[in-house]
Symmetry: C2
Subunit: 370 residues, 2 copies
């Protein structure tokens, strides 16, 4: 299956939302928000307004006006401050007012447990189509870290809004400065805010976005569900990933339990290190470093996968994806690594969100060549 | 002279700017920006575009649209990052664009060495009149601390812009939240930014602003100049203040030298304590606490003047006002206290910028009753 050729509408029933949210949480590589909360809010919107229409990128006109909406902050905080639909719509409307134009379609900024759901909620609520694609085919912690910005789409003008409808419109000369301004505001506003921005045309979206990722997320969720019925969800999941174009270099990198966990909310992020030990008594040890999302996994000191390739921690029995804010001492987990889409591995992409952008010491190495 | 009846245009020549800037710096009570930099930038604008037209409040139509512009941040930082005129105009134009309306006149947000000058620079540059009035008849460190907000004018929508033209439009439910959001942005943007906001009508301005304060600032500057020619500038200054309506309860509270100075840039402000000792050998000691502006002066432990009444530190020989960022160990100074305008002493005003708003322990006492 080559994902770029998806050209059918993705018709989602309310019952599909659990699979989609779980698959999206897996692709969120530890970040991208909580799938449970995101799903509840979206299911409620689907019940109230009817399901959002999900269109393949090929059905979006080149001159359509598109923007993204997302939660922004630290996932540790989202657990305590729930999402409301009103502020997401209000922020989106403020962006339209600022542009002086109506938006035609919504693109998920990233694939993650909650950030794949919010656009669907908003699409249902305001009656706009959501595009089966996203800005990175995974989740990343900073505003400029996505394929859209690498391809020249600007994050700003960007509306940032809190749960009391306080908001700001940010305009910056670079997306990196936009990230710094938005982060400063987000910290002041309680670290659980929503953004509307990344204004682009349909043509820009087709060139810059990672296409078909809602379909893949649903496929991942379904593969996990099937595996649970058949008795081996992790194998079912990895087998499915290998049939996809983007994520086909997929493997289980470590099988063990969490023996140490450092996690802080610092600088507006959830940052930390999760240390694991093998269950088989061979003394193998692994550590996963994260900043909202998992950045690098090292087994016995050797790097096995590194950003922008994807590193996902799942429950070893159920393949449930575990976001960084839910990691706990003693959990028995498998660490799965997989290739990032080609658009996410170009030299310019690596400059923006490769290992050095996170101050990691080692260079990028594609997972398939490690 | 009762200032509220000023109804003549204030015709300023370039040569008047030094007196005006010095008088405004005096009313800035330690804050409000550096008079030297503000004056240079404004004189340059007057030379390039002709002097700004300064109108008495009575000449402003009730339905005129008015806004304020000001520097925002910590004065200690302004010393290192100079003011440019372009970003002030650019921020002002962004506010107009956001409002979708043209502004008719500019009101100084506060009287201070630089913040009385910037509106004149902008007025000259964009050809708009500047109103002979301001938001507080002094300077204050926080956005909501002014007579405008006390009378229901909203600080937001407010544009905050840095020297690289990065900007944000802030919209908040309260002016206190607007202060917090703007401060967070200002810190991120380098603590030397400019704001455009406080959108109001001519009618609101006449009710809420402190009227005639540019005229008083010029009078103060001229009194100091005259005193320098006659040999006793501090007496000349205090004598002049006593002829004004707002500041007529004026007195020299302490005469001594600075023997200790704590000053930090913290939380986005210049905060500290300046300790003084009498020169006469009577061991009298005073301390002035400041947050950008001087907040309270205590002599031998007794409170002698406290916000919102004005506390100004001047050179004891020349009566040159010394802003908090220029205080130095060993300076010989006089501390002058004076009454705030009546609009600044109402119960609602005291709630917003009385001693308790600055977490000072003592209640407000008018200087004339101490």
């Amino acid at each position: 299956m080559t994902l770029e050729v998806v050209d059918e509408d993705l018709n989602l029933a309310i019952e599909d939302m659990e699979d989609l949210a779980r698959g999206a949480a897996f692709l969120g590589t530890g970040g991208g928000g909580d799938p449970y909360i995101g799903r509840l809010v979206t299911q409620e919107a689907f019940r109230a307004y009817g399901p959002a229409r999900i269109l393949p990128p090929s059905k979006i006109a080149d001159d359509a006006l598109i923007c993204s909406v997302a939660g922004f902050g630290a996932p540790t905080v989202q657990l305590e401050k729930l999402t409301s639909s009103e502020e997401v719509e209000f922020g989106f409307r403020r962006l339209e007012a600022y542009l002086g134009r109506k938006v035609d379609a919504i693109l998920p900024a990233e694939i993650g447990g909650s950030n794949s759901m919010l656009p669907l909620m908003l699409g249902a609520r305001v009656g706009l189509p959501v595009i089966d694609a996203d800005g990175m085919g995974r989740a990343f912690p900073e505003l400029q870290m996505n394929s859209l910005c690498v391809h020249g789409v600007r994050a700003t003008p960007l509306v940032v809004i809190d749960e009391h409808m306080n908001f700001a419109v940010v305009e910056a000369n670079t997306d990196r400065i936009a990230e710094e301004m938005t982060r400063a505001l987000a910290i002041q506003m309680g670290l659980r805010v929503f953004i509307s921005g990344f204004v682009m045309t349909g043509r820009q979206m087709k060139e810059a976005a990672i296409l078909g990722t809602l379909t893949v997320a649903l496929g991942i969720g379904r593969a996990i569900a099937k595996g649970r019925r058949d008795g081996d969800p992790v194998t079912s999941l990895v087998d499915y990933l290998r049939t996809t174009d983007y994520y086909r270099h997929a493997k289980v990198l470590f099988d063990g339990k969490i023996v140490d966990l450092e996690r802080n909310t610092a600088g507006g992020f959830s940052v930390g290190v999760c240390r694991l030990q093998s269950l088989s008594g061979d003394k193998a040890a692994a550590e996963v470093t994260f900043q909202n999302e998992n950045l690098v996994v090292r087994v016995n000191g050797e790097t096995c996968a590194i950003v922008p390739d994807l590193i996902c921690i799942v429950d070893r029995e159920t393949a449930e994806p575990i976001p960084t804010q839910n990691l706990k001492y003693g959990q028995r987990v498998k660490v799965i690594g997989m290739s990032a889409p080609a658009k996410m591995r170009t030299p310019k992409a690596l400059e923006t969100f490769g290992p050095q952008a996170f101050k990691l010491p080692e260079p990028f190495q594609p997972i398939e060549s490690i």
